[in-house]
Symmetry: C2
Subunit: 210 residues, 2 copies
Amino acid sequence: MPSDRRSRKRLATRRAISVVADRLFRERSFDNVTVDEIATAADVGRMTVFNHFPRKEDMFFDREEEVRAMLREALRQRDSRIPPIETLRLLTHRLISEKAPYVDFSAESRSFVETVERSERLVARAREIRDELAQVLTEALSASVGREPADPDAHLAAGLLLATWTVAFIQAHQTFRQSRNSKKAKAVFLALVDKGTLGAKAALAGTPYA
Amino acid sequence: MPSDRRSRKRLATRRAISVVADRLFRERSFDNVTVDEIATAADVGRMTVFNHFPRKEDMFFDREEEVRAMLREALRQRDSRIPPIETLRLLTHRLISEKAPYVDFSAESRSFVETVERSERLVARAREIRDELAQVLTEALSASVGREPADPDAHLAAGLLLATWTVAFIQAHQTFRQSRNSKKAKAVFLALVDKGTLGAKAALAGTPYA
DNA sequence: TACCAATATGTACTCAGTACATCTACACTG
DNA sequence: CAGTGTAGATGTACTGAGTACATATTGGTA
């Protein structure tokens, strides 16, 4: 929390908009809430909303930087005896066993996922974020073994892992919906992650990533 | 070509819009052409444009059904001694050796790719198409081995393969730009496809897909 | 030929997003 | 501590995609 009042006020305004928007999106779905309504509900001017969130979607996806940072950190400070791909597999296992957002199947994460699914625009933004993550992962993987930032092998590894996580995510949520059993859903998630990771290791065999 | 004049005229109108739009998008970039301009240039009403192409992007991506059909066909009539994933690998090799669109590095395909890259909206639509292809591939893979349409293994295989093709596509175009050598670019493409396919096979080992 | 229905088109609207100007309040300096 | 520069909040006016709904036109067909 910055000490100067100016920054604090800015943060507070941003937070107020974000909280209000999030609630409205979940209640009435993304497409049935206008920016004007959000501005009014948050008691700020319409332009203030766009000042903080250039795109309407940004009000909903507001924590992506944390995920990026986590990936970068995990690879940067990895045990050098464990190759990058395995490091990421271990990371996902650790996240699942803790209460990680998105994959803990709490009411909160389910509501999040449902809200995204109900809006084609949010789905589109989720796809974009996925590609941004693949980009970040490509760079972090390259850096972790001292190669060029756009190393094709790192690119392939990142693509395979992101695809794996995406499939695991979708299938796990599917499983949860059918069984209402988060233990089972998590098992599905990990099984698919392990399979996909195995594939990534095979694809990258002979490189420092595997 | 349908015989009744009505269908022929409808097709002709659609084609006229498509051709004009394609030319304008490539000349001036997607975002710098308005639907009004397209309508005027094609000598039709603005509403006629939306009648044929609900989204502006649809005027540019107008051949996706062919790709979907190709994937479905390849898996439907595959040699039953060759597993699905290998069938798809062979398909990509065959496409590359022929003059396949998108990956022949002709002036036409390069202009296509550049036009997409210059517009965030077209990139977003390309992502969407990728996901639609993954969906189609999931179903076609499942069907090819007689499993449920949403079989998780098929989903994983489709995800891994689409990721592989995407990475191969990007890296190959990158290579072409640096070398202006389509032979080299195609080699990069195939090498990455082979690596990714190897990974997919490893991930799906023990299933009928590999 | 007359009618039905598919297709083309017009009108009027909504809403996200942008450009640009203005106003307000915090922070910093002399 | 008064004065001033600037970041942040806000207003106005606009663009352009997309939608809802009405209307006109034209080919197929009884």
